[in-house]
């Protein structure tokens, strides 16, 4: 946390640097730890003092054991339909729940896209849990999803997250084991 004195120093330095000639600024860049300053600037941008309020257009992030996602609703079905291929699952157990009760069913992976198409209403507004062998996805409707990938390699999480971005029209190759990506309007902001 900045105190008054530090703020004064920082402001004074910034003012002095501003008054330097181009040649003096060039010399100055050789004297300061430019990489550290850049890193601090990025960190400050990524950790605003107050969390923004509202629902982003897109959110994908790693959790302790999987991924937490809020996708554009129109891409939810395509995202779930590609999961059996990524998770090497041949059959899916499905549990649908709403205010009137619950239903259990299962379907072969090859028929999942058709099932999703027939149950678009549940996908958009209902609560669904789908089990792909040891992995589980829950859909809370409106593109709000949580994927449990217990013991899955980090590369698989990255691959699924990248696919989620791609389906939503964004391209990014995650490098780290823990990351988040968010879109408020049309700009993809990634933290790794």
């Amino acid at each position: 946390m900045w105190n008054g004195t530090k703020s004064t120093i920082a402001l004074g330095l910034a003012e002095i640097v501003e008054r330097l000639t181009v040649e003096e600024k060039r010399e100055f860049t050789q004297l300061v730890n430019w990489e550290e300053l850049q890193r601090l600037r990025v960190e400050a941008r990524r950790t605003p003092a107050v969390r923004p309020v509202g629902d982003p257009r897109l959110y994908v992030a790693t959790t302790e054991n999987g991924l937490s996602l809020d996708l554009p609703p129109e891409h939810t079905s395509a995202f779930i339909a590609m999961l059996p291929g990524k998770l090497a699952s041949e059959a899916i157990d499905i549990f649908v729940q709403n205010g009137e009760g619950s239903q259990e069913t299962s379907c072969p992976a090859v028929d999942l896209a058709v099932w999703l198409e027939r149950h678009g209403d549940v996908l958009s507004e209902g609560a669904i849990m789908m089990e792909f062998g040891p992995y589980t996805v829950i859909s809370a409707g409106g593109g709000c999803l949580s994927l449990s990938l217990e013991d899955a390699p980090p590369a698989l999480r990255r691959e699924i997250a990248q696919q989620a971005l791609a389906l939503s029209g964004f391209d990014h190759e995650f490098q780290a084991d823990h990351f988040s990506a968010i879109v408020w309007e049309d700009q993809l902001e990634v933290t790794e």
């Binding site: 309020v53 259990e104 609560a127 809370a140």
Partner: protein
């Protein structure tokens, strides 16, 4: 674990996940996407589940709480 138990615990975890996001989801999102699903799950267990189902839900919630406290 029964599907309704697992599903109910999963929606509780989803609620925790949202609390850890770098933004604050809207109250409508919390209500529609998590609380209602939790309410439906809990109501079904109270109406047609067993005492063991209810206990497993509480245990599942407590497990998630312990993870949260350990972070």
């Amino acid at each position: 674990m029964k599907k309704n138990v697992k599903s109910t615990v999963s929606f509780f975890r989803l609620l925790i996940e949202h609390s850890q996001r770098p933004y604050e989801p809207s109250p409508e999102h919390i209500l529609k996407r998590m609380l209602l699903a939790l309410c439906h799950g809990l109501s079904e267990i109270v109406e047609s589940g067993t005492k063991n189902d209810a206990w497993e839900v509480v245990e599942g919630f407590a497990k998630e709480c312990r993870k949260l406290e350990a972070e």
